[in-house]
Subunit: 182 residues, 2 copies
């Protein structure tokens, strides 16, 4: 069945809705010959960072998220600037949101932000020996509290459902694989 | 710092962009007294299902995803209908996409679809003793191939980055916790 492929019939622009440019792709379904209009939100890739201190704490950020109208606990991260390298973006976002920095970086892979209707990816970075070196530097639309979590408590917090961002959970899964805990 | 809270100044409707109603929330940042216009995409909650057969295979779906213009390997799932119970939605989506059904259901928790700019949640369900009982029943905009993966191969595929949907990875993390593999 999968040898048949969707045919891309054309595209049309939708509105810019802040954060994203809306686009519609007209796609012909080879299974039934019907054309469907598919939503694609075009935006920049993003990064998130697992930053671990020499005394085995994970650097997290707590902030109010407007989508769900609640505070979340997440890995630091954010959108990459245009043409920005993902490691540099990871270092920049970590520094801006938490004031931490460091040199021992490992790429943990990427995941689509949401492959159904977004074209962006989220790049996961691990930073070991993270140290507090800077003041934080927040955007006008941000208010962030830094939370230091002992690595030894991480699984307990996961079990309790402490992390409410799927990109944080996707990065943690990569981290457990990378460190052979899975 | 976090005792100060954002003030919700008002809302305005944006366009309906297919899948979502666009809304903007005007929020006053207590840190700097500045007002920001925040994007919120309003849509229904979704479900995904870890369905495991009596011979220890995981039921997966492979499909072309229009956001990233590539095939993905994911857990079966999809949007809940209005007022639909999440377990019934999980059973319906599993049956429609794969033809599998069963009786031994366990709720694995939920995660925000994307707390930054979406108000929906994704509910994770585990189905044990899943059996192929129905023909599939796809929407006009779907073409899906069912993939049976031996559970014993799951971590190897995870290491290889086989799963390219963050909601699938979030559900797998819950599954590893639930089964004490983490």
């Amino acid at each position: 069945m999968m040898h048949k492929e969707w045919t891309h019939l054309g595209e049309e622009d939708g509105p810019n809705i802040k954060l994203f440019d809306v686009r519609y792709h007209h796609m012909l379904n080879p299974r039934n010959g019907k054309s469907e209009k598919m939503l694609v939100l075009h935006g920049n890739d993003a990064v998130n960072v697992l930053a671990i201190t020499p005394d085995e704490h994970l650097v997290l950020v707590k902030q109010y998220r407007f989508g769900i109208a609640e505070d979340t606990l997440e890995l630091p991260g954010g959108l990459m600037n245009n043409q920005e390298d993902s490691q540099l973006a990871a270092a920049r976002e970590l520094r801006e949101e938490t004031g931490f920095s460091g040199k021992v970086w490992t790429y943990l892979g990427k995941v689509p932000a949401n492959p159904v209707f977004m074209d962006a990816y989220v790049h996961h970075w691990l930073l070991e020996d993270a140290v507090k070196t800077h003041d934080t530097s927040l955007d006008d639309g941000e208010m962030i509290e830094v939370v230091m979590m002992p690595l030894s408590d991480l699984k307990q917090h996961l079990t309790a459902g402490a992390f409410t961002h799927p990109h944080t959970n996707a990065a943690l899964l990569r981290y457990f694989i990378h460190t052979h805990q899975l």
